[in-house]
């Protein structure tokens, strides 16, 4: 295959990898559990700082032990300590880390090959979506009629918080994780990411964080809402410590991933790949990474303050001590609003890419599309307090935040222009990715328009805290982002697996999910309009019809997602084979074999034009 992989004197060279030859997810979990126990022991036996809430200190120490143990066990600290001792990796080490000759086992290890990391992200995303989805079904089942049914309020309140945060985590990585990692480096003509070890670190850190987050369910849950407002979170049980620590761990993952993505895109493009020849998906990934780099540290500090409050009796959010819940709200939303664009932009950028290939025409208004994504990211940093319009905080700032928030509708509108403009007068190839894209267009209008309602303060004073808000962001997260993520999956599935994602099952799934979304969240808008608050474990009879309809819709969505899961599982091993370039696209990932070689290219390509030239001659070649 490539000369770079062959070792002419294998017998004489030492095997690479060192300690890493014995490390994998299993050792990570074992080390994590062992050090968690050590942390627990230290907390219980040795540490006592004189306050009566020592339970939280023990919990935090336990989770710290888990976090460190997991990293040790997976091999994340191997390289830093080797660096410390002046022993750098050899070529054999690097090839071992990249997963050479390890077959399936490399997916369970700290593998640096970006393609392996991409597949690992697919699995993690699916796992998080599954957990969040089960919780969603539990929530909607409980809300089928007024009154308490199969879970009590405490459990229900916990379900909604964990459903929320698990789904947020899933959607943050849903497109940027799998495809920002698997596809993007090939798209720019690179052999791997700029920092391959950081790539593995970001994935495994996410796994560690996700385990802690889901572990919340085992310690009494998180009955405080996923925005974990300061005052009520101070009240909560150990689940809150789990949540806060999960976030602390998670922000390490996103920061590392952001640094890696941005550096890769800026520094590792192949010769001729100037920024204006960059596939638009790569632009989207870079803009997203920059936004995430800015936003997530705020979340880290918001939760670190919370941990301090709960373990060392500080008063960040405790009013009696001089603190204020508004501090938590500001820090949280300084992260929280950019975060929703971190979630949205990769999905939109993937759809831009898909729309061009499927319409056989260039991306319409490429530069404007890039500009719109940049504007969206930039504006998103100055709109955060629209989540606090009714909090009573700084009423005089309501007007300015209303202005910045409503301005966001302009770049968002450009997205529609680009998508519709790309498809217009095209020869639109109605394959599975295209179908989900049309679903996105329909849902994103509804999500976007209802967002404008909420950005108007007088309207928000009626609608804030109601199911109207919940319906709005579910139209965005489920109706738009998830549809974009599934389109991306259907589009790049052949590059990862060598097979098409089953068209028939995919379309059944699409119609079930699409119709289910309209029923569930359409009725939910009405619940909100009528006056149903959100996060209610039970509700008055005035809302029974719309809730019943929402629950029915949720089951339809579930059916659709199960069909999709079936499609993924069956197609991966037994789907219709696809060649290396089933969509006849021009971007670099389609010019390499499926699966791509370990280091992507035998010879690095030289680029002379962007990937949006569809010529008659080339298509028929």
């Amino acid at each position: 295959m490539t000369t770079t992989l062959e070792h002419t004197a294998t017998a004489a060279q030492p095997k690479g990898g060192g300690l890493a030859r014995h490390q994998n997810a299993g050792t990570a979990i074992v080390c994590g559990v062992v050090l968690a126990y050590v942390g627990w022991l230290i907390g219980r036996k040795l540490l006592w700082n004189g306050s009566d809430n020592w339970g939280d200190e023990v919990t935090v120490l336990t989770i710290t032990g888990w976090m460190l143990g997991f990293w040790i066990g997976i091999g994340a600290f191997n390289a830093p300590f080797q660096w410390l001792l002046g022993r750098d990796n050899t070529r054999a080490d690097n090839l071992y880390y990249a997963g050479e000759h390890q077959g399936r086992a490399r997916y369970w290890k700290y593998t640096t090959d970006h393609k392996v990391v991409g597949v690992q992200y697919i699995i993690v995303t699916m796992g998080l979506l599954a957990i969040g989805g089960v919780l969603a079904m539990a929530i909607r089942t409980e809300l089928i009629t007024p009154g308490t049914h199969f879970v009590n309020q405490q459990v229900y309140n916990s379900f909604i918080a964990i459903h929320g945060m698990v789904m947020i985590l899933a959607l943050i990585v849903a497109v940027a994780g799998p495809w920002g990692n698997f596809v993007m480096p090939i798209m720019i003509g690179a052999r791997d990411m700029a920092f391959p070890r950081l790539n593995a670190l970001s994935l495994w850190t996410l796994v560690s964080a996700a385990i802690v987050l889901v572990g919340t369910l085992a310690v009494g849950g998180l009955p405080v809402g996923w925005v974990v407002m300061g005052t009520i979170s101070d009240q909560a049980g150990p689940g809150m410590d789990f949540f806060a620590m999960a976030i602390v761990i998670f922000t390490v993952s996103t920061t590392v991933a952001s640094v890696n993505l941005i550096t890769t895109i800026l520094a590792m493009r192949t010769k001729g790949m100037t920024l204006d020849r960059l596939p638009i998906f790569v632009w989207g990934t870079m803009i997203t990474a920059a936004l995430a780099l800015y936003a997530f540290p705020f979340f880290f500090i918001a939760e670190a303050n919370q941990i301090f409050d709960r373990t060392t009796s500080t008063s960040f959010y405790v009013a009696a001590g001089g603190g204020t819940s508004w501090l938590q709200a500001n820090l949280f939303w300084l992260m929280g609003h950019p975060e929703v664009y971190v979630i949205l932009i990769p999905a939109v950028a993937a759809l831009f890419e898909i729309s061009s290939v499927m319409a056989r025409k260039p991306v319409f208004s490429y530069r404007t599309a890039v500009g719109a994504m940049v504007a969206l990211a930039g504006l998103s940093a100055v709109v955060w307090a629209h989540h606090m319009f009714t909090s009573g905080w700084a009423p005089s700032l309501g007007g300015p935040f209303m202005v910045t928030t409503e301005l966001i509708s302009i770049p968002t509108g450009i997205f529609f222009l680009v998508l519709v403009g790309t498809l217009w007068r095209g020869n639109v190839w109605m394959k599975l990715p295209t179908v989900w894209m049309f679903g996105f267009i329909f849902n994103f209008i509804i999500g976007g328009v209802t967002g404008i309602y909420l950005s108007d303060i007088p309207l928000d004073e009626q609608l804030h805290g109601t199911m109207f808000v919940t319906a709005h962001f579910h139209y965005i997260f489920v109706g738009s982002v998830l549809f974009g993520a599934i389109a991306a999956l259907a589009y790049w599935f052949p590059k990862v697996s060598g097979r098409y994602l089953n068209e028939f099952m995919g379309r059944i799934s699409f119609w079930l999910v699409f119709i289910g979304v309209q029923i569930t969240f359409g009725a939910m808008f009405l619940s909100g309009l009528k006056g149903m608050p959100r996060r209610d474990a039970s509700y008055s009879f005035a809302f029974e019809h719309t809730n019943f309809i929402s629950t029915m819709g949720a089951y339809i969505i579930m059916a659709g997602m199960l069909v999709l899961l079936g499609a993924v599982i069956t197609s991966w091993g037994h789907g219709e084979p696809a060649g290396p370039n089933p969509w006849h696209a021009n971007s670099l990932e389609w010019q390499v074999s499926t699966p791509p070689p370990l280091e992507n290219f035998d010879v690095l390509p030289v680029i002379t034009e962007d990937p949006y030239h569809f010529d008659e001659a080339k298509v028929n070649a």
Partner: protein, 247 residues
């Protein structure tokens, strides 16, 4: 997009395990370090935001005061028993003083000096190519960081605790000023620990010849971060020593 056969490319191995030249690798590692510094700027920014915000809102006028009992004078058990026995008199409004400004500046100064030491060492390494001497310099910088940690720990230890007893809920507590200072000090200690690790690593690597007059790129990378930590230390200390009492 056309994939022509390349005139020149970077497929040939340079150095151990890398396809690209040391300059190219250094180029992207520098970008990576700057991006990390960017994230750290936001993080420290958020900490300072916390400090300034809490002072600005001064909820219930308790930025530097709290109702309770001078906790530091006795053990928690003493207070707990007093509360249980009902022998606690009514709580007083306790005013905490500012954390020692002098000691804060000592920590900042140590951080700045350690950065200067490292930077000087780097320049000397590039000029004179004496790896052994650089090894000692890097070790010195690391030791200075550890000294900074020690002083920061002293500051932390001296944060006054107040025993608060409300509705049978007893706890040792901190004012918001002390809370914000605690978070900043924890951040300082963490950053200094990272610097100590980096300095020690450079020192060992120089001894082993991995870092030398010809291979000094990583020293520069570490220096970037070190200088940032020094700057953030000065900025934070300026804020926490000048913007203190609410007037």
């Amino acid at each position: 997009m056309s994939i022509d056969s390349p005139a020149l490319d970077d497929t040939h191995s340079h150095g151990e395990g890398q396809h690209d030249s040391p300059e190219k690798i250094d180029g992207r590692e520098r970008l990576g370090v700057w991006l990390f510094i960017g994230a750290d700027v936001v993080t420290v920014g958020a900490l300072l935001f916390t400090y300034l915000y809490l002072r600005a809102v001064d909820t219930s006028g308790h930025w530097m005061s709290m109702y309770g009992y001078k906790g530091s004078l006795h053990t928690y058990e003493y207070w707990f028993n007093a509360a249980a026995n009902g022998t606690l008199k009514s709580p007083t409004l306790i005013h905490v003083g500012t954390v020692s400004a002098g000691l804060q500046w000592v920590v900042a100064a140590i951080t700045v000096v350690s950065a200067a030491v490292l930077w000087t060492g780097e320049k000397s390494l590039r000029a004179k190519k004496n790896a052994k001497s650089f090894s000692a310099t890097a070790l010195l910088a690391a030791l200075l960081s550890i000294a900074g940690i020690v002083f920061s720990a002293v500051l932390l230890k001296d944060l006054p605790q107040i025993f608060v007893s409300i509705n049978d809920s007893n706890t040792m507590s901190y004012t918001t000023y002390d809370s914000a200072m605690m978070a900043l000090l924890a951040s300082t200690i963490f950053h200094l620990a990272v610097l100590a690790f980096l300095g020690l690593g450079l020192s060992i690597r120089a001894t082993r010849g991995v870092v030398s007059g010809d291979r000094w790129y990583q020293v520069r990378l570490v220096r970037y971060f070190w200088v940032w930590v020094a700057i953030s230390s000065v900025v934070a200390t300026l804020i926490t020593t000048t913007i203190t009492y609410v007037h």
